[in-house]
Symmetry: none
Subunit: 401 residues, 2 copies
């Protein structure tokens, strides 16, 4: 019996509201042993006030020691076991640029590359050609036509672009054509299972046409294909939790991840203040709101401790507008830690705060790594957070008699 078998059979309706605020990469590290983390350094009076009314714990994104990407990090927070539900690289790349994958799509990450006179790969990234240049090449690749298949070609950045093939009977399991080496020719697309034979055939045709179109380019005279992936089939929030859910995010990746679990993506907010506007405007329409804040992660990845502190304070300053809506359950968490010290996503457990009328407070007076370590929720895998949210909202019936 998996978590969603439980929630499917136990969820019930009421008029409660749940808000999940995800400060991306929230958890951190001190710059020197014994020092304070970014969150501990930041002045966060509103988070601390919520801590006194709530219960804290440490959320383990996937498993101890596992540093997740944005995909598994968010799937865990959404209550989808990130080891059970995986999002193929191509599908995640397409999601990240805001491409709305449909049921019969296969998404492929592509790299422009440079072939030498013998057809061997001389540069796997075509000299990292600038985005403006590769975008023009992407335009030309859109001329490619394949019978009975709709083809989308979308630029990403520098030498990277995405191809999406849409049509019946296209499986998502095809081996990469990038040989991960120079001095050898690119590989042909080879199906890794029976249902992907047609996909390999279509990809071969695409590459043949692309080779002609790109033939005279000085650098990007061909491309490789990697990470073939069908749209992942995730049950929806409506089905597994009985929740009408909305996502309020600035960046395409997080909108895309939310769409994959059936959330409505609302608005075009560019700032946290605009996200708050949307939250207020749509308050009556949804049971659950996922609100994504990016800058605690991006500053961490930049290794900029002080900027992460400042961005954490910006996040804190937005909380009174959320609290004023009096959500039945308010959660503040992150999809993983991104310590500026490591300049990268990390495995460290993420301080997580849940506030409700019946949350069993834990005597904590601030919100931080060291406080949440002593919190009432203990350490728990992120995938359990949604069940806790539903329980605190009175939306889960009793299991067994």
């Amino acid at each position: 019996m998996d978590l969603h078998d439980l929630t499917r059979s136990l969820h019930q309706q009421n008029d409660s509201k749940i808000v999940m605020m995800v400060a991306d990469g929230l958890g951190g590290l001190p710059l020197a042993a014994g020092g304070k983390t970014e969150l501990e350094t930041a002045n966060t009076p509103h988070l601390d006030a919520l801590a006194r009314r709530g219960v804290q714990g440490m959320s383990i994104p996937v498993l101890p020691g596992i540093s997740p990407g944005s995909g598994p990090g968010h799937l865990g927070l959404f209550g989808y076991d990130p080891l059970q539900y995986t999002i193929g690289r191509g599908a995640l790349e397409a999601t990240g640029i805001g491409f709305e994958l449909q049921a019969h799509d296969v998404a492929i990450r592509c790299n422009f590359c440079t072939l030498d006179g013998d057809g061997n790969i001389a540069d796997r990234r075509a000299g990292r050609i600038p985005t403006e240049q590769s975008s023009l090449l992407v335009e030309r690749l859109r001329e490619i036509r394949i019978p009975n298949v709709e083809v989308f070609v979308e630029p990403v950045k520098e030498h990277r672009f995405v191809v999406v093939l849409r049509g019946e009977g296209l499986g998502g399991n095809v081996h990469d054509t990038d040989p991960q080496a120079t001095g050898v020719p690119p590989l042909n697309p080879v199906a890794a299972d029976e249902s992907s034979g047609r996909t390999a055939h279509v990809a071969t045709e695409f590459l043949a046409q692309a080779r002609k179109i790109l033939a005279d380019e000085p650098q990007a005279n061909f491309h490789t294909m990697r990470g073939f992936a069908a749209r992942p089939h995730l049950p929806t929030y409506e089905e597994v939790y009985g929740l009408r859910a909305a996502a309020i995010a600035v960046y395409p990746m997080y909108k895309g991840l939310a769409r994959l679990v059936g959330m409505d993506v609302i608005g075009q907010a560019q700032t946290l203040a605009e996200q708050m506007d949307l939250l207020e405007q749509h308050w009556a329409e949804y049971d659950f709101f996922f609100l994504h804040y990016k800058y605690t992660d991006s500053t961490g990845e930049d290794g900029d401790f002080d900027a992460k502190v400042a961005r954490t304070e910006d996040f804190d300053a937005a909380l009174p507008r959320v609290a004023a809506l009096e959500p039945s359950v308010l959660i503040v968490t992150g999809d993983h830690s991104t310590p500026a010290f490591l300049r990268n996503h990390s495995w460290h457990a993420v301080p997580t705060l849940l506030v409700s009328d019946c949350c069993r407070t834990d005597g904590r007076t601030a919100f931080s790594e060291s406080e949440s370590r002593q919190g009432g929720l203990g350490q728990f895998e992120a995938k359990h957070l949604m069940t806790l949210a539903l329980a605190n909202a009175g939306r889960l019936g009793k299991f067994g008699a």
Copy 2:
């Protein structure tokens, strides 16, 4: 490898004694944020003395956010994964009235109902006829005879009663005959799998005879059948732990649950003092004692905070008699929380105390939600408690070389 594969291969014998005291619904909540829980309010000098000698933790009955019924709550404490072993509704109802289910039994929850002149259900509960009246009808249904099947009909309360069919080849998967609506006729019993075809046939015959017997009743002129369930097949304490186990409980439900895992149910105690008498009298005969105390749950369900405090103090007062027996391992826990604030079973973790000579004490000086949050056992799923008990009793060998 499940938990019992481990304990089966590792358990060993010695003359230790384990006592598990289950205060039903033990965990609680403050009535107002920042206040004390029932257990924190209660004056519990003996629990606090044990806390100084023991180690505490927070037991999660099933999974975070899941509020269990008595069945899964106790199966977890007994070390049986409550998501792996489920007890069908009919079997639990029969267990709850003290009916001893046997291997070839199928138990069915029945409701007297009222049919109108067209044979449609006018009232799914026959006007909730009083228990005295329905008991007389149950007597009459005992006249029903079905070839090669032993039939038991047992009253429960008001319009509810239980039918148990005993015979070879009776599967437990038959759909409910209650259409969950009025103005339509009851459904016929339909088997949900091949092995339950005979059960559906026998149930159909039972209903035909019942319809004749009840035909002239003004209100309860028929009945529905729901929650068909075979006796759950649980491995026994003797087999998985090597323990001769005894249950000392007042209420039939908990005696029944203990029987399902092979415990001997001893005595007919009506009070905690009588339960203590039984514990002392049978001390030499068993390795493991499960002692169930109901009133921390029933007062919680009543929403009576003060009564729960008082009943917790009564429980505490009984502890010196247990401690005087010097059990090798003494555990105090609950099958779930029942905060008076919620008037219901809840998902909150349950304060749990384990005392043994080698338990690694944790410096706690009282027993409560807030103390156990800081305890040495951390947060753990209830299903791991029995393994901890066996280990502390020196009854588990080393895993691997």
